[in-house]
């Protein structure tokens, strides 16, 4: 479904991705793990067009999207919940979700809103509340829900557990698994990899802009090096 081959992405002169190649098959949950600066978020930003790659190719369902601007990538069926949530703080929950469907003109937006409220009942309770007044966990739900409102076939999640109470992390990952069961392919990035690998099919370990390791999620969880470096075992 998604294939990155030999992707190089730069911030100015700094090469953040030094030739990343990954694939995501339809129906999968794939996790990118790695420490700070490994290039996880940059990989997602390269896919979503926020920082387009300088070299290499990114193809989505057969279309080359390396040079495609972000709004067209969203229209193709990839949406992102960005790092640090980035909810529109002074908009209500409802307005945030409506912006998620900014590009859509079809009649199914109402159904998707229903779906998001079913996945995250908390958001329905807080429909009229300003996003900025909600807790970190609720804002994370909102960021994921907002990305879902674009009705993506591939959902990119950047550190959905960042800054959230442990109990909520578990809930959010249950919901991520549920979203996947409903038919959305998911590529997610995590620093704190335990929960992420538990719900994922496959995983990649990134180190300083390279793919260091790739395997089935269960195999990665059992890998002693990965355990030591990323799972806190």
């Amino acid at each position: 479904m998604l294939e990155l081959s030999d992707v190089h992405t730069f911030y100015g002169n700094i090469e953040a991705l030094k030739g990343i190649s990954i694939t995501v098959e339809e129906g999968e949950i794939v996790t990118l793990i790695g420490s700070n600066g490994a290039g996880k978020s940059t990989t997602l930003r390269s896919i979503s067009g926020l920082t387009p790659p300088r070299e290499g190719s990114i193809s989505f369902e057969g279309n080359e999207i390396g040079d495609t601007p972000p709004q067209e990538i969203v229209a193709l069926g990839i949406s992102q919940s960005p790092e640090g949530r980035k909810c529109f703080q002074r908009m209500t929950v409802r307005e945030n979700l409506e912006l998620g469907s900014y590009l859509r003109r079809d009649s199914k937006v109402g159904e998707d809103l229903r779906r998001v409220f079913d996945l995250f009942p908390r958001l329905e309770e807080r429909e009229g509340q300003k996003a900025g007044t909600m807790s970190g966990g609720e804002q994370q739900m909102l960021a994921i829900g907002r990305a879902l409102m674009a009705s993506p076939r591939l959902l990119l999640l950047d550190e959905p557990s960042m800054g959230i109470a442990p109990i909520l992390v578990e809930r959010i990952y249950e919901t991520i698994a549920e979203i996947n069961r409903q038919g959305t392919t998911i590529l997610l990035v995590e620093q704190n990899a335990n929960f992420a690998l538990a719900v994922s099919h496959r995983g990649y370990v990134l180190e300083t802009g390279h793919v260091a390791l790739s395997d089935e999620a269960s195999a990665l969880r059992d890998n002693p090096d990965v355990q030591k470096a990323y799972l806190g075992a």
């Binding site: 229209a75 703080q89 002074r90 300003k130």
Partner: protein, 376 residues
Amino acid sequence: MLPAAVALTALVIFPVFRDPLDSFLGDSILALAFVVMALGLNIVVGFAGLLDLGYVAFYAFGALATGWWASDFFTGVNGERGIHIGASEFASSLPGVHLNFLLILVGAVIITAIAGAIIGLPTLRLRGDYIAIVTLAFGEIIGRIAQNGDELTLIGDYKFSNGRQSISPIDQINLPLIGEFDQATNLRPYFWMGLALVLVVLFVNFRLRDSRMGRAWIALREDEVAAASMGVPLVKTKLMAYAVGAGFGGISGAFLGAFLNSVNANQFQFGFSIFILAMVILGGLGSIWGVVIGAVLLSFVNTRFLTQLDQGIGNDVLNALGLDFTFNEVKFGVFGFILVLVMVLRPEGLLPERRRKLELTEGVGTGGESVYEARA
């Protein structure tokens, strides 16, 4: 609805109770023009969060449109017989281009919207203060070009402007069905015309704010990365904000050109941009009614209050302090002082926008740093 209707009726019949050449009526007309101007800047700065310090450029283009197309500026055109479309009987006898004011408005909007998009282009990759610097430079460039426009010939022998010499006289506004205004005998029609422009621009402002585009502007202001992730096309959305905001500046500039009966480069100073920006900030960034109030207040401070202060006790106070100037001479200092007062006492503006009030009173911001980074 009822209070609005009463207020509107009061405004409409207000000129009838004033002398046709009343100076207060004249100052009110200026205030109306500034309301249009401030509402335009509010779209760029208030809605989309792009700090624009070069707004005077659009005043310049609007006013120049009137200068070009409603005077004998292009004397030689059409073998000195002139071009006349919908001009009054008197203007039709003059050389130069003489178009109906409504056509000039359309032309001014087109010119300024294009200029707005052009000023927007180099700022697309910039954020915050850097946008302000580029727009500031753009305003200055246009001002300089207008100043030296008497040496600048574009097509044939036609100049760009008259520089510091005025393009004057300008045709009186001549509306279909209503007829020609006459500034020398009656200011009332100018008041009604200004009021009509304000109403149209207000309507467009409210519609825009509640439109998809308006929501995209606000999303952009709140968080550019998130907006892009949601599929908001950044380039188009920003350029639209610049173009629409500039278009309103053009409308107001064209109207001011006709009302002041003169277009010259001395009008296009940097201070003008700040004057309009001060109205927006005083009223409340992003708040439509707030900006209206801010524009009216500052406009009257400029035209009446300072003069009255100088004629009244102000002079005595300054003399007693041994200061040898009048308030009018330091009016930009006074505006600055007013802004400082607003920032200290009521940082959200007189009539704050709902969203912004939240940020300032309840500590809700976009993750701390980016609120101010994005805007100021």
